[in-house]
Structure formats: C-alpha cells, structure tokens
Symmetry: D2
Subunit: 284 residues, 4 copies
Amino acid sequence: MTQQYLLVFSCKDTYGIIAHVTGFLSENQGFIRELSEFGDPHTGKFFLRCLFEFPQGAPDLAAFFKKFLQVASRFDAEWKFLESSLKPKTLILVSKLGHCLNDLLYRQHNQSLKLDIAAVISNHNTQEKLVQFYDVPFIHLPMTSDHKAAQEEKILSFIEENQIELVILARYMQILSPSFTAKLAGKIINIHHSFLPSFKGAKPYHQAFERGVKIIGATAHYVTQDLDEGPIIEQEVIRVDHSRSPEELVSIGHDIETQVLARAVKYHAENRIFLNGNKTVIFR
Amino acid sequence: MTQQYLLVFSCKDTYGIIAHVTGFLSENQGFIRELSEFGDPHTGKFFLRCLFEFPQGAPDLAAFFKKFLQVASRFDAEWKFLESSLKPKTLILVSKLGHCLNDLLYRQHNQSLKLDIAAVISNHNTQEKLVQFYDVPFIHLPMTSDHKAAQEEKILSFIEENQIELVILARYMQILSPSFTAKLAGKIINIHHSFLPSFKGAKPYHQAFERGVKIIGATAHYVTQDLDEGPIIEQEVIRVDHSRSPEELVSIGHDIETQVLARAVKYHAENRIFLNGNKTVIFR
Amino acid sequence: MTQQYLLVFSCKDTYGIIAHVTGFLSENQGFIRELSEFGDPHTGKFFLRCLFEFPQGAPDLAAFFKKFLQVASRFDAEWKFLESSLKPKTLILVSKLGHCLNDLLYRQHNQSLKLDIAAVISNHNTQEKLVQFYDVPFIHLPMTSDHKAAQEEKILSFIEENQIELVILARYMQILSPSFTAKLAGKIINIHHSFLPSFKGAKPYHQAFERGVKIIGATAHYVTQDLDEGPIIEQEVIRVDHSRSPEELVSIGHDIETQVLARAVKYHAENRIFLNGNKTVIFR
Amino acid sequence: MTQQYLLVFSCKDTYGIIAHVTGFLSENQGFIRELSEFGDPHTGKFFLRCLFEFPQGAPDLAAFFKKFLQVASRFDAEWKFLESSLKPKTLILVSKLGHCLNDLLYRQHNQSLKLDIAAVISNHNTQEKLVQFYDVPFIHLPMTSDHKAAQEEKILSFIEENQIELVILARYMQILSPSFTAKLAGKIINIHHSFLPSFKGAKPYHQAFERGVKIIGATAHYVTQDLDEGPIIEQEVIRVDHSRSPEELVSIGHDIETQVLARAVKYHAENRIFLNGNKTVIFR
C-alpha cells in the first residue's frame, strides 16, 4: 500500500488558506485523499487536516517540508507533516478497574487502534498479568499520600525518558497536580464516567441514580488543572430506567466508558483533534 | 373493541401484594392484559400498574371498586381504577415558540396522543391561529411583571373551573410561583431544553455551545418549586459537533424537545408514571 | 447578514482540483465558510461543496461564473453556483396519512426547512384543510386504476409548468410509473417505512412484527424505477420489544419517518447531496 | 447477600395465572424482587419471570418445588425454579476473529457476565493464547471439508459429556448441520454481522457498502436450520457515511458485534429470554 502523509495545520482564518496549501500539494505531486477544514467564526481560527499521498513516488521529504515553510509562514500557522502510519508513543495509567485497559490493549493488539504503548503504570498491581499478556511493560508505583509528589516525579521522568506523546488515564483514580497536567497539556486524555458537565467529581453513577436521570453517559476529555473541566473529545450515552441500582449503573456504564475512551484515543492517534480554546475541533 | 381498565396502585413493599391484587382481579373475572410492578429497595415503596378487561362482560363497577377497598386497605395503598380510554383534561401553556405545541396538537388530532385539550393559554398571540385551526380555545393572557400574580390567578381559576388534570408547559418562558407549582404537584410537565442536570436555567444551548459538548439533550420533568430540579420523566439526546453554532443547536434541539415532551405527556396520559420521591417510576 | 453562495462540483478525481477551485475563489475575493470534499476510490469520482461569501462586496456574478468555466472545463466537471438562500420549488405528494406532511409544512412555516412549496397534490382530500391552513395550494387528484396514466400526466404537467425542482412523496401510497420517475431522477424523494433493504414493499411494520426484530427503522431515498431500491439518503431507527403490536409499531414508526424525511429534504434543499452511482455522498 | 431464586414459567394465557403463581410464593414466604409477564394476544401464550427471595430463611426447597407442581399442572405450564446465581455451563466456538471472544472472556473474568465457560473450541489456533490466559481449556479442531461431520460429532460429544447448557458462536465461520442445530435448539446463540433481515449470508458489511446504507448493525439470534433466520435476541446499530470503505465498516462493526453478543448472552444467562414461535420475549 502506498505510504500516506498527513498535514495538520491551524492559523488565523483569512482568504486563500486552502488554495495555498492545496496548491503547494498539487505542485509537488501530492494527491489528496481526504481534506477537512473548519473556520470558527467565534474565535476566528482556522483548522485543516489533509491526508495525501504521492502516487508518482515520494519527493525528497526534507526538501518538501522545507518548501512548505513559505506557505506556513505566510499564514503564521502551527502545523506538522507526518507519515499517517506513525503511532504515538503512549503511556497508560490505570488503577484497579481494567475494562478500559483491556479494551485498549486488545484494540492495539488487533491493530484497530494504532498505538505504540511504552508501558502501563498503576498504583495497584491488579492489572499486572493482563498487561504482561500483551507484552507491555507494567510498572507498579503504589500511591501513598505522603509521597504522591515523588510518584508523579517518577511518572514524569518516565514520560521524558521515553518521549511519551500521549498519556491515557484509563480509569486512573488519582488526582494529578496542576504542574503535572500543565506539562502534558493536550497530550493527556481522561475518561470521566458521566455525561459532563453533569455529575462532576466522585461517584457520578451514584449522583445519576440520586437525580433519577433516564440516560447515563461517559465523557473523554483532555485533562487540565480544573478537574472534569477540560476540552471534551467524545461522549456517549445509554438509556436506563428506574429499576437500575447504582451498582447496575456502574456496570452498564463500563460499556460506554470503554467505547468513548477508545474513540477519543483513536481520534488523537490519527491526529484528528485540534484544540480550540477549551473546546475541540474533531475531523472524523 | 373490549373496554379495558387500568389499576394503578402503590404502597409500602411487603409480601403478597401482587397475589392479593391479581387474586382479586381473577376472582372477579378480570383478564390481565399487562402487569408491571417495581419494588424499590432504596425507598421500600412498591408500585403496580395493571391493564385488564372483562371478556365475559363487565361486572357492576361500583361494587367491584368497593370490594377492592379491602385489598387496598390491607396494604394502606394509594390507588385508582379507571377506564383506560379516559383522556386527561389538559391545559397547554406556551409562549412564542410553537414546535412543541404544533406537535402536541397534531398528535392529539391524529389520536396518537389521547388528550382532552381544554385550552391553550399564552402570554403572546403568536400561536393563536394554529390553536384555532385545531378547534381548541385560545386564551391570550399577556404577562407583564406588575400583574404576574394576577395572571397566575387567572390560570389557576381556569384550571379549577375546568377540572384540569394535566398542565403542559410547551416552551412556556415564564417562571411560575411556588404556590402555583405546589397546587399542581405531579400534574404539571415542563420541557427543558437541555440534558438535565447539565445546563439549568437560561439559554442552555448557548451554555452547551460554550462547554463544547458533543451531544445535546432535552428533558421533560414535573415542575416543582426548584427550577429545573423536579422529577425527570424523559430525556433524549442528539449528537452534534464543533461546527454547530448556538443557533443551529437551538434548531437541532427543537426536534428532540418535541419528541421528549410528547413521550412524557403520553406516559402521563396513559397513567404510566409514579412519583417516587424526587424520581419517577415509569412502566413503558 | 452577508449573502452566501454555494458551489457544488463533481468530476473525475485527479490532482489539483481543490487547489484550482479554491484558488479561483480566493483570487476573486471569495471567503470560504465551509468546504467539504470526497474522492471515492471505488468509483474514481470527486465531489466538492463549498459555501463562501464576499466580505468586500460581491463581484459581477455573471462575469464571476463565466470566468469559473475555465476551471470547470479543465476538470470536465458538473457544477453549479447558487445563492445559498435559494429555496427549491417543491411539490409534495401525499395520500391519507398526514404526519410527514404536517411536519414538513410546519418546518417550512418556522423556517427550519427552506422550501418554496408550490402545491400539495393528493389522491385523497383528507389533508386539504391542513394544507390550506399554511396557505399552500391543495390539488385533489383522485386516483383510480383506469386513469392512473392520465393522473400522472396531470402531475407532470404541474411539475413542468411550475418548474418544480423537488418532489417529496410524504407517504404517497401510489406506485409511480418508470417513465415518471425517470423524468425526475435525483429530484424525487420518498420515505419508506422500514430500515431498507429490510422489509421492502407493502406493510413493512407488519413484516417487522412477524420477523421479531428488536429495532425498527425508516429510510428516505431517491425514487428510481426499482421500488425501494433507489439511492439511500437518510435512515433512522428506534428500539422496540416483544410487547409491541403491529399497530403500535406503525405508530412508533411515524416519529422516525417524519424525522428521516425532514432531514433528507433538508440535505437536498441545502444542496448537500451528490449522487454517486446508486449511492449518495452527503456533506452534513 | 440473600440468595435469590428465579421462576421462569410459560403456558397458554388464561385467567388467574399471576394470582396463583404469586399466591403460592407469598404463602411460602417468598418475597418478590422482580416480576415480569407478557401475554401474547397473537399466539395466546403467556410468559412470566419472577425473581424472589426468602427473607425469613429458605424453606425445604425440594418440598417447595414439589408443592409448586400443583400450580404448574393447573396451567399445563413449562417452568423451572433455579438459584439466580447459577451460571450456565458454556461452550464458545470461534474461528480467527477474537473481538467477541476477548470481550466475553473479560466479562466473565470481571463477573459482569455470569458464565461457567467449559471450553473454547476453534477450527484455528489463533486465539489459543488468549483463551489460556483466562485459564479456559482451548480445543483445536481444524475443520476440513471431508471430515466436517466427524468434527461436529466431536463437538457434540464434548457438549454431552460436559452437560453444556449454552453454545456461543463468537464469530464462528462454519455452517452447522441441521441435525447439530436441531439438537441444540434454543441453546445456541450466533452473532451475525448485519442488521437482520438485511444482508444475510456472506460478507454483510460489503453488501451494506454496496447498498449505501447510512446505518449498519449486528444481530444476535438463536441458531436454527435456516441460516440467519432464527429468533432474534438483540440488535444494535451505528451510523456510518459515504466515506467509509468496506474495511472500515468491518472495523466499526466489530464494536457493535461485541456489545450485541454480550447482551444476548447476558439475557440468556440470566434466564430473561423465552422462545415464542420464531420470536423471543425478553424481560430486561
């Protein structure tokens, strides 16, 4: 199969952006497979994702990228070119519950999720065997309140040493410090087990039970300093009724948590997500 | 078609309730068409709805009901028997937006919603012609802040004089006084244009836009003194994305508002809803 | 509000199409609001829809369109430019059931659907009053088998005389002749009350009941000579269970029929649909 | 936690069934936790599922069941009492694709699915390691056309020797012989990767692609002699669009296949399903 390339590009919205970008690609024998764009009239920002290939053979890519600088600088853009097959180097953090972890590992194994999972770190060892079954390194870092800061340091060191590009909180029940999340802005995805902004904080299914909602949900979002307030990536819901106990809501909810997190990670891994203030633009 | 009857029944949960109720029905030649029950382990309350008929001919109903008193008093139950074809006498309150109103009127017209609509009252006359088209009385009560109390009095008088059993707020943009809602507890249904408890209060679609949610919703609930906090009857959601403006969310939301309100009203009209504290038990 | 314009464009997929089209727009001070494209690797066809405006004032549009001929002919494209606010001149055909018709008329009335409805033609007069309420001409053409051809002729004459651009079969229970549908290829939308290709033909809800499906659906599609085989535009489903009678399925289904047809008509009216063989490309 | 018991019961619909059944339970200090019933007016059959417990201590169960014979024989019923915690002894058949298998094994492991999995039999060894990770016996029975009958014999022997109560075809790509499926009527569940009755037979996602449907689905059903025609247990769907290749439909479909199969197996394992001709009655 022909190698495909991705351009992700954002700048202030104005005249001629698509013309210049696609003009550059066609002048250089790039054949466009997919192009998605969005100009946000509220923020004045423009976003573009373009998947392309070189049916006549790839040019000198270094020269190609360098030439593109002219287009990008014209619009003062943030951008990157990359091979579309590149897999982000990923760290998964998990506590005891394994449903999201199992799902992510299986999807990575059967190639429906393109991740390069460097390790799973957990404050418990409940999931050790499962992780090892998939030949992924498992690191057990028990969390106790008096050395929480020290543990975060160890995680950060791992991230830096291994050039981790994506951190997934797959039901990781520890609150991260503002400095930790700030360092990983836009690179750390959490699954919250409610339909945000409903039921922030602890025990959302029990909150949902108390309120008597007829539909429950799950939300994947980028983590920011403000708990459960980060940019939303994906949400899903499922219908419930009066007969469900809080424990049943928890169990039913696991299914949508796994789906929502898997989709959010897939969008991120495929470079489909742009941050737009505290919101996301997602080209699916 | 054979006349069908409904029994709705609730009491403290204990042994033998279903046995006694259904025993009474079968001893009196009642043939059960549908029976739904729920015992709530959290509140200790029991709820039952039973649809039945008399294939061998109905007995003396007054005597039948009187005999049932023994069963009901044994369990200290709240209950009522009624012909299943009875339509609740209904008042609709509406402001300018007519999508829910049009939907309710059409459903009542084509018999998919069994309501006896006594009148539509509005603080505007925008919907007057539509209401008249369906031969429903339209009462224009313009609301101005200085005589809001007087207006509520007029609405209450109408309700009492016409023995209104159900009030529907079909996008009625006036906040009702606590005394008004207290008098109509369990008999007044509102449609809120968000997935409660998210985005209470004004302009929920704009709130949803600001938060960047990926799914929007609508909620039908009984009205209580606490705005947007009453028992939830029905909810529905629809997927949206980054490209939708607040105005588009409003427009998309209209569709789920009409569906959610119609379903909630149908459940109420068919005596499918029980209040269970601040929650609802609904036998669909 | 600034006038917006649409370009819809399709051709054989190749290098540089987007570059040339958007290059032309930006050279002529067109500011792109939305651009969607799809290159189909299976058919080799390319489709583009672009919404744009002239913030600095519109140019001489006739000259603008004429200049574009060079771009279009380079790619041997099918294309049209139009004001985005243009409403297609529409004819609705209906039989007795009015749920879809009522929904379309209301949406047109409240501007959520941008149609210029020239008339409603029916083989019954059941819906006459409703149509007249919305000040739309109602034409009663009773259909009897011996002059079916004559009736189709009258409908076709109306279409030609009134330059009808879109025909909606809003639960029109007459089978149209191949010559009729051939003349209106890509311009006539039907709502079928099943999830096609399941349950083609008559009484689909009864077929669904017999098969015991757990979800029912509705499908809007362009009409072709082959009954229920035309290009699918939109589908929607709803969950049901064993307790539903065929009559209840019919009633439940009405809700999804109205939604599906309204969405399909909206996509068509907003020039979001391209035919791609016997399939549709839809830019939502 | 108190041990709970299930009664599943079906007979010809008539007067007094619920009264007699629940009368018996309450006379014997059975406290009802859940009761669901359905009388089918089309087939004249009645179905009941009742979950109950003995808060005052369980009676002599053998005597209890024996006494119930009087009630059951009065209505000539098919019935069984069982401990609600009983797990059906289960055999899973799988070919190469492991997404459903992995999901079932994980759910059994984390107790959200109550199964006693005796073995996984496969015509390939692709899933051997995964099965062994969960400490479930894996039996490799390669299928070649000339000894297909012999292989079915081996599977049947395993079923008989191990008193298998449920067989799950978790993407098992072999067609079973009529005699095999006849022996396991009502005990063998298949997942078909389409929204039946659409796209029966081979390569349903490719069929869906060709037809251009806007929603794809999956169906779990009991297996009968007629391929893809057995009683439907559960269905689920997901929205797709023109941009999806057949391969992407396959991948997207995997997610709904796993959910649908897991739900169907859960309903079966919890004795929630009754056969009603070629349809199912499911008390959820």
